[in-house]
Every structure is written in C-alpha cells, then in structure tokens.
Amino acid sequence: MKKISKTRNRLLLTLMLLTTSIASVLADENVTINGYVRSADTGEGLIGSTIYVEELKTGTATNAYGFYSLTLPKGNYTLRFSFIGYEIFSEFIGLKNDVTKDIELQPSSTEMEEIVVRSEAEDKNIRKAEMGVTKLSPKETKMIPVILGEQDILKTIQLLPGVSSGTEGTTGFYVRGGGIDQNLIILDEAPVYSASHLMGFFSVFNSDAIKDMKLYKGNAPSVYGGRLSSILDIQMNEGNSKRFSASGGLGLLASRLTLESPIVKDKGSFIISGRRSYADMFLIFSKDQAQKKTDLYFYDLNAKANYKINDNNRVFLSGYMGRDVFNIDELFALKWGNKTGTFRWNHVFSNKLFLNSSFIYSNYDYGFGYNFSDNMIYIKSGIRDLNWKEDLQYYINANNALKFGFNAIYHTYNPGEIEAADSDVFNSVFMNKKQAYEGALYISHEWNISDHLNVDYGLRYSGFMAVGPDTVYTYNEQDERINSESFADGEIVQKYKEIEPRITFNVILNRNSSLKFSYARNAQYVHLLSNSSASLPTDVWIPSSKNVKPQVADQIAAGYFRNFKNNMFETSAEVYYKDLYNQIDYQNGAEILLNQDVESQLVFGKGRAYGLELYIKKRTGKLTGWVGYTLSKTEKSMDEIDNGAWYPAKQDRTHDISIVGMYQLNEKWNLSANWVFNTGNAVTFPSGKYSVDGFTVPVYTSRNAYRMPDYHRLDLGATYTPKKKKRFESSWSFSVYNAYGRRNAFSITFQENESNPTQTEAERLSLFQMIPSVTYNFKF
C-alpha cells in the first residue's frame, strides 16, 4: 500500500510543477527564433553552443544535433552565439515574427586558445543546471600524454576527480566508487559493452571521429538510465559537409586514418575512421617460440553518414566495429569486439518541438579458446541489443524546456557456449540464451525560475521483463537446484519496475559562483560478474532474473563552484553520498566460468559510497591544466561474507590525485605532463599459512581487508607543430608513459620460495615501466 501512494504522490507532484510553469507561459505575445548552429569550416553541428540574449539575460543552448529554439516576447535583442574554440557571433535582431536562423561560427584564429573543460562560462544562468557533468572536447585530449601516444577520451576522463582508472592494463573505470559495470557508455546512442582494446591501453573510441563527450557522475537527467554510477554519452562527428578532409597518424604501436567528405555540399556528408594496431609485428623477431607465433592486434572502424532531406528532416546512419585478437600459437586464443549501428531521424515539428527517433543495434561478443589435452576448446558469449528510442524536446520559452520520450530495448544474452574441435571428447554445451525487454518512459523539465535559480527535474519510469524460452532454477544453501520452472517462448519469467526521480538545483550566487544540489535514483537491470583480479573480457554479463534483482542506487550530491580572475581559474568542491541496493558479489570459492548455475554462486546485499571531490583548473595563459583530488570510501555488506560486516569494495580508493599541466612553450612546441596517484585497491591477502597434503596453503581472514601498494606515475609529452602549409597541418607527438619507471603492482602473488620451500614470499608483477612513443599526425 505504502509503495503505491508514494509513486502516485511523486507523479502528482511532477504534474503540478509542470502545469504551473506552463500556465505562466501561455499568456502574451511571444515569437520564436530557431535554427542550427554549425562550424563554418566543417559544417558540423555544434553541441551545447550557447545563444545568449543580452537584454533579457537569458538564453538557451543547442541540443545534440546543433538545434536551438528560443521563444521571447516581441522586441529588439542582441543575440550572442558562442562556442568554445570559435569566435563569438553577435547580431542585433528585431523579432516581430517567428524566424529561422542558421548560424555558422568561425573557428578561433588564435592557436593558443584555451583548452578547457567546458563547465561554467559567463553564461552560467543559461547553462542547464547540470551537476556532476563533465564535457570534454576532443581538442583537449590531444594535449595529454597517454600511453603510447594515443589520444584517448577514456584515459582523459580518468584524470578528473570522482573518476578513477581500473587496475593498470585493464579495461573499465570507476565513477564515485561504483563498479565497472555501473557505467553506461553510448556511442551515438548505441551501448558499448567493452570500451577498451589491448588490455586497457586504448579505448575503442578513435578521437578523430568523436565530436562531443559528456560524463554524468550518477545524476543524469531522466532521459538517461540503465546504470547506477555514470553515463558517458559520446557523439560522433557528422563529417565535413563543406569539403573533403583527411587526417590521421602513424605511431609506434597503432596507426589511424580518417576520411570525411560532403555527399552533397551543406546537405549531407560522411566520415570513415579506422585504426589498426600492430604490436605483434615486432614479435616475429623474437627468439621465443611462443612469442613468434603470437597474434596481438586490434582494429576499429567508425563510419557515419548524414543527409538533410529538407529543413525539417534529417537522417543519420552511424556504425562502429572493433575487434581485439590475442592468440598464442595453438595454446590460447582470446578475441572480443563490439559492433554497433544506429539509424536516426531528426524531425522538427514546429519551431519549438524537436523529435529524434533512433533505431539501434549493438552486439558485444567475446570468445576464448584454450588447448586442453591437445584439443582446442572455444567458449563464446555475448550480448545483442535492439533498441528503439523516441526523444522529444519542447522548447516552451527561454525559461522552460520540456523533454520526454521513451526507450525500448530487446536484449539477448548468450552467457556461454562451448565449441570443441573434437566432439568425441567434449559434448558441445550451450547455456540457455536469455531474452529480456528493458524499457523506460521519461519526462523532464528544465526551468529557469529566476536570475538566481534554475532547476532540472524529471522522472524516469523504467521496467524490465525477462521472457522465455528459458528454464529457471532456484537454489538452496548448498547451491543445489531445488526447483525448476520452464517458460515458453515469450512467456514472462520475471518483471521488475522502478521509478527514478531526478532533480538538480542550481543556485547562482553571483557572476562567479554557484551552489548545486542534486538527487537521483537509478536502476540497473544488467550486471557484470567478474572474479579475476584483472577485468577480462571473459567476465560474464547477466540480466536480472528470478534470483538476481535489479541494482538500485540513491545518490545525493552538493557542490560549490567558483571562478576567479575573470574565469581564468575554475574551482569546485563537491560531496556525494550513495546508497546502493541489491549489490552482487561472489561467495567464497565461487565457480563462474561456464556454470549453468552461476546464479547460485552469488551473494546479495547492499553498498554505500561517499566522497569529496576538489578541483582547481587554470583555463587560460601559457600554462594551463588542473589538479583534482578525491577522498572517498566505498563499502559493501553481504550476510554471507564476514557475517554482514561492512567490507571495502575492491575499487575503494581512499585518495585519488591527478595533476595535469600543459605548457605552450612557443609557437611550435607544446609540453605536457601528468602525475597521478591513488591508494591501492582493497584486496584479500593471507595472514597465515599451513601445510596440507604437501602443499603450503595460505589462511585468509576478512575479505578485502588489505591494500595493494599505492599507485603513482608520471607521464610526459611534447608536441611539435610546424607551420601550417596551406591546408596541410602536421605535428609530431613524443611521449613517455611512466617516466620514472615506478613498478606499480598489477598483482601480488604469495608463493613458496623456489630455492627454499619452507619460506614464503610475496611476488609483485608490474606491467609497464617507461614506455616511449612517437606519433606523426597529419590533417588536410
């Protein structure tokens, strides 16, 4: 009873807020100005470009397609269009009737422009009340040395407070203490399940093809959902619609090439971007037999085409395909990859109502094979998603915008199947495929209440339905099956639903400072099970089911933001607290691989995470950069582990520091350096040992009671940019990863000393010391 009325109350409250704000708008004589803001040199729509009305001290920003709509009372206004990296365009305009105005902004002529992380600009009061959002332009990633000279969006966001890197050499990152699976990464709206190549060295995102990237740290507006800790929304470039352009780079380990061109000038364009690594090429020179026959490479391809049918209709088709291969002769094979495809249709109903329809396909698969008694056995798993989304944006007036829509996904999970080359020995086994529907309805309202207060609030109603065919088991304490139920094709196995309210307040104190508060509830219906210390692609994704409930989190956050010296310095301090429900962990001695009854190996409980994020950034001048510090704690509690005592989550990193600096030495040389430090992961180490059957066996006490040694490293980089010749630009990037060669522990193994078996020791494996790299980049 209580639950139902809480829901109803929430819905009523939302409706009430909506009607009062709409009512205040329906009166008087307003006109609407709308259109697109684009880049003058490439024709790309500019995302988040601001349109400021000086006289009214209000305005709006463009959406993900560069579209804006502003409804004002009739009158004369000075409109200012701006976007980071471009010249501001001001126009004095007399608005008597509705008008459509498309603007093209000129790229900024000074090379020494501010390389900034877009956040609070002078137009604070028209910026959406987004809190815990970070926007990064790919221009910025080009100045940061990352491993092996590759520009990497994922590695760059890990240099910001609140975001920590996974263990070196592994994929995945943690946001505000959440697990790796609690981040939703979408590329042109298609989910990307494994966002990295080559054991975490390279992300799957080629930054030559990326236009915009937004990271929400747990309090995304209601248009987003499906993961507890973060949303990383990445938009691809549309392709130069004015002229043909090519860019790329040749590097020590990988090379890339991007081609873009108009299909019809100013009406349609396409872009194709590819990358291939060749780490294995150098191995043919190795003396070691196994190394000689090792294949280790990745490739990825991004492609997108768009066409403007008429002023009100535009279509886009984008796709991504990437693959990683790692084979050691006939001993071992590992491969994984993502394939995505998105078809989108923008339709402008009226000058205030914008619709985007998307049809999305996403496929993630991984396979691993190994040699068992001279037989190659392959184990394959994967996820396939088919997704239909409709998103409407209704720009009521300068102070009110409404967003609403729905999202429906059909998931198919293949948790694992074995294929054996020789089926006399092995019975080919299939683990039941699982099907489920996941859907959501959402609505949100961005409301500029006054000069000093704006709010973004909304509701997301999400649901999940696991359907047959399937056979579902329940288990007893000894992990034995005690009950089984069979479901026919399409029959509902289990249903879940969740109401997720979201709200963010932005209190503008003065020109230079503001306070933000937010609350969000998030539900997550898919889960990643990983029992290795590395996060391998062999980790298993499972959907919610009869035994596994959806994860839910409530997060509150507050922050103080302040700029100094005319926006030269940006500082912020944010605190957050999260309560997590239905968290999953493994019981002791769990068997995950190919276990039809993997759900019997899990234990469930709760989690909590809280922290403080401090950030200071210098945006302008010869020296730019930032310092980020996060102090945090993340814990879990499960009845079956240490009797429900709170224990640290693996990714609990007490301290996390990032110092990033970029120095424009002169016209040609740009130097950069970054230093990172974090407390080691929480781990379970032995406390004692004993002997059984001739083996020396460690004794463990509490889970995750110890820490890996602290991690820190320095990366240095330098970029040499010779003078631009006509249309041809080039540059050389040099970098050193882990410049002082610190041996950061990837793992610590406890074992008997080889020469003296009665002595035990701890052996550290560290992966990367001092790795240099050179890349030649070009663009024309």
Partner: protein
C-alpha cells in the same frame, strides 16, 4: 572439464609488455594459530592416516607446530567406530580400508573442542590405458614425451577425478600442482587427460595415478587450486578452501579411490 591453464596466458602477456616481477616486502597481520586436520580414506591403503598441525603467520619459516594428544575416532556407517593411535607426534593412524559406497565420520577431540566431518567413499573408475606422445611445440620444454591417461567415465553418475603423474624416482616428492576434474560436460565419454606439467625422457618409468574423489574432497581441492592461480587471472576473492570439517578447522577429511598404471617411455 573445467581446468584452465593460466600459465601460458601469463607468459604471453608478461613477455609482450616488458613487465617485471620482483619480490617485495609486505606487512601482514598476525593470527592465532589454527588447527589443521589432514587425511583421507583410500581404497588401496589399508591404514588411515590423519595428521594434525597448526598454522603459523605467513612470513614465518614453514615449520608447523605438531598437535599431540588429540582423541580421534572414525566410524563407518556399516561398521564400527575405531580410535586412531598416535603412531608418531602429530600423526594418528589405524587400520581402516576404504570401501566403495561407505560413509565415514571423523571426530577429533582436542583441548575441549570437537571437530567432525563426514565423507562418502566414491565408486572406483579404472585407468583404461596409458599412452605417450612427443612434446608439442607450444610448451616451455621440448624433446621429450608427454603422458596421456585414458579411461571411461561412467554415465549418469557425478564423478570427480584427480590425476597424478610422476617419475617413479620422484614419487615421494610433494606435488607442485593439483589437477582435479569433474565430468560435467563429458559424462559417459571416453576421456583422455594429458599431463603437460612435465615431460619424460626415454627409459623413464612413469607412474600414472587416477583418483576418483568424493564430492567434498573435489570441492576442497578445486578451491585449494584456485589459491595457486596468480598474476592476471588471480582470483579476486581468495578465500579458505571449502572444507568439510566443522568448527573452523582448516584442512579436510577426504575419501578417494586410486587406480595406478605404469609406463616405461620407449624411444
């Protein structure tokens, strides 16, 4: 068959990325020494031997205190209860041949506490034959021969196996590895297990031993083997092996059958 070799993967990655291994100092907590009970009923050895010892702190030398003066009894479901004699300090033994299908219960009384465990003797599976083949290229060593063990898995029964292969001269040396298997995906098939842990040279006499294990014995060895995986695939949540002993005792009370075969490597 769910045993996966991680060593080759580790070798590959380590070699590729100029990584490094070294011994470091780590501070670990101290713990109260815990009782360890170690022994198993077998069908070939008529004497049941149970060893009692205690654990020590991790970086102490591996000298484990012996536990004397415990009262140990074992009872069979279809037989009587016997008490074990302490034949030497910490070692308790008694005549007790293992019989397929029987259930054995162990009780250890020590310093006012009681520790018990139950185990059922599994049905025996015999080695069908043993063969050899030249060492393949992808292994660390070459020029010798690997030994294969062939047997038929009874269908419809859950079987758990352990394979031990060694040179007759090194039979009494403790093992480096534990290879245990369950018949989950191969039930009823003709099975070949290859011992690729070491190679043998011509004229070597090799003993091949196939054990069938009780389920709790298999669980113990399986979770024990997890603790020996290190590096990249290291278990994120190591925990004490799943033991059938009560009251917090470490170790296990197992039951297994043994089938042995000998082969002399010919050129």
């Amino acid at each position: 068959m769910k045993t996966i070799k991680i060593l080759p993967l580790l070798v590959g990655i380590v070699a590729l990325f100029s990584s490094c291994r070294d011994i470091i100092n780590i501070e670990l907590d101290s713990i109260e020494p815990k009782l360890v009970i170690d022994g198993a009923v077998t069908d070939t050895n008529d004497t049941l031997v149970i060893q009692l010892s205690k654990s020590v702190d991790y970086f102490e030398p591996g000298v484990y205190p012996i536990v004397s003066g415990a009262i140990i009894t074992v009872s069979e479901n279809l037989g009587d209860t016997r008490q074990l004699n302490e034949s030497s300090p910490g070692v308790y033994s008694e005549y007790l041949p293992g019989i397929e299908g029987n259930e054995y219960t162990l009780t250890v009384d020590l310093e006012g506490k009681e520790y018990t465990a139950e185990v059922k003797m599994p049905h025996k599976v015999f080695i069908d034959s043993v063969s050899i083949e030249p060492t393949p290229d992808y292994l660390d060593f070459s020029g010798g021969y690997l030994v294969n063990c062939h047997f038929n898995d009874p269908s419809g029964v859950e079987n758990y196996y352990r394979l031990k292969v060694s040179n007759i001269n090194e039979l009494s040396e403790p093992d480096d590895v534990i290879y245990v298997y369950d018949d989950a995906f191969v039930d009823g098939n003709e099975i070949t297990l290859q011992w690729d842990e070491e190679q043998f040279l011509p004229h070597d006499t090799v003993i091949v031993e196939l054990q069938t294990l009780a389920e709790s014995t298999y669980e113990y060895y399986r979770t024990l083997a997890l603790l020996f995986e290190g590096g990249m695939i290291g278990n994120a949540n190591p925990a004490n092996p799943i033991s059938n002993l009560s009251n917090g005792s470490l170790g296990y009370f197992g039951a297994y059958t043994m089938s042995r075969d000998t082969i002399i490597i010919q050129e």
